[in-house]
């Protein structure tokens, strides 16, 4: 199998965020930071989608969205403005599913032997949330939008 360049995979995920935001919300997003996280924990207040993937390589995608962005997302998916928590969770769930689906389709086209499959998305809300993964390395990106930031953290298993 051609060696997968993880930095290229990360850029594919970043491009997928831009595309999904444009398609769903007609909204531009701008990457403002990209760094390698220095520990296994992510602290986040807000709504988060988590999507694991596995195949020729494996890892997981974290997408954290601000409250204003979540409200826009909910309305774009047919919500009426008053959003019960379960509906909000389903909205961020679908956002994560779309981003991971777009990105992994392109990754599999670029690296056909990778055959990487996304697991079902999971979504969370709560206070002082701490997300943790161990034995993985990757990138943390922040995107600026008209309705607050999107945080994307993508990690790959380190033995690959």
């Amino acid at each position: 199998m051609e060696r997968v360049q993880f930095s290229e995979v990360v850029q594919t995920f970043a491009e997928a965020i831009r595309e999904v935001c444009m398609q769903l919300l007609n909204m531009d997003v701008r990457k403002v930071t990209e760094e390698k996280p220095d520990n296994a924990l992510i602290r986040f207040d807000g709504a988060v989608a988590i999507i694991g993937f596995s195949g020729g390589f494996s890892g997981r995608l974290f997408l954290g969205v601000s409250e204003p962005f979540l409200a826009e997302l909910y309305v774009s998916m047919g919500g009426d403005g008053s959003s019960p928590v379960e509906e909000q969770l389903l909205a961020v769930n679908e956002f994560g599913n779309l981003v991971a689906g777009h990105a992994l389709s392109r990754v599999n086209n670029r690296f056909p032997e990778a055959n990487v499959r996304p697991a079902p998305p999971s979504s969370f809300r709560g206070e002082q949330l701490v997300f943790f993964n161990f034995g993985m390395g990757g990138f943390h990106l922040i995107f600026e939008t008209l309705h607050g930031n999107i945080e994307m953290n993508i990690l790959f298993k380190e033995d690959q």
Partner: protein, 146 residues
């Protein structure tokens, strides 16, 4: 399948000297989070469309009890070492579960979340769960798969 997940969990807990007498089961239309700490592992099929989620969900008492046994620190829920230990427990349970099933499913790396008032939808598919009484609390293991 949920029975095999229960057996996998029993086997791994037994390796830590924890014997589980009986399990309670439940079914729900959505795979939702219960507890303050949850570790979620995705399942994907190598050459097919089946996919799913396995979860381990701890309340504070169950997490504290297990961490006391695993790393000797019942307060470990707030340390990286404690979270890593529970993450490793999840990896062992999923590994044992997939070996028992003997099907072409691969596990994704586990992701954990801990926090206050955690609410979550782990999968939009129906889920089965088993509940174990543990250290005065409850450990739940959930499975939702297409």
């Amino acid at each position: 399948m949920i029975t095999e997940l229960g057996n996998a969990l029993r086997e791994i807990l037994a390796a830590f000297g924890i014997e589980v007498a009986h399990l309670k089961m439940s079914y729900s239309d959505l795979h939702q989070v219960e507890g303050i700490l949850c570790i979620v592992t995705g399942l994907v099929e190598n050459h097919g469309e089946r996919k799913g989620i396995v979860s381990l969900e701890f309340d504070e008492a169950a997490a504290s009890f297990l961490l006391g046994i695993m790393i000797g620190d019942p307060e470990g829920i707030s340390s990286e070492m404690g979270l890593s230990a529970l993450s490793e427990l999840s990896t062992m349970v999923c590994g044992s579960f997939l070996t028992r099933l003997n099907v072409a499913l691969m596990a994704t790396p586990p992701t954990g979340v801990v926090g206050k008032r955690v609410q979550g939808i782990l999968n939009t598919m129906p889920a089965q769960k088993i509940f174990l009484p543990l250290g005065g609390g409850t450990l739940a293991a959930g499975l939702s798969i297409s």
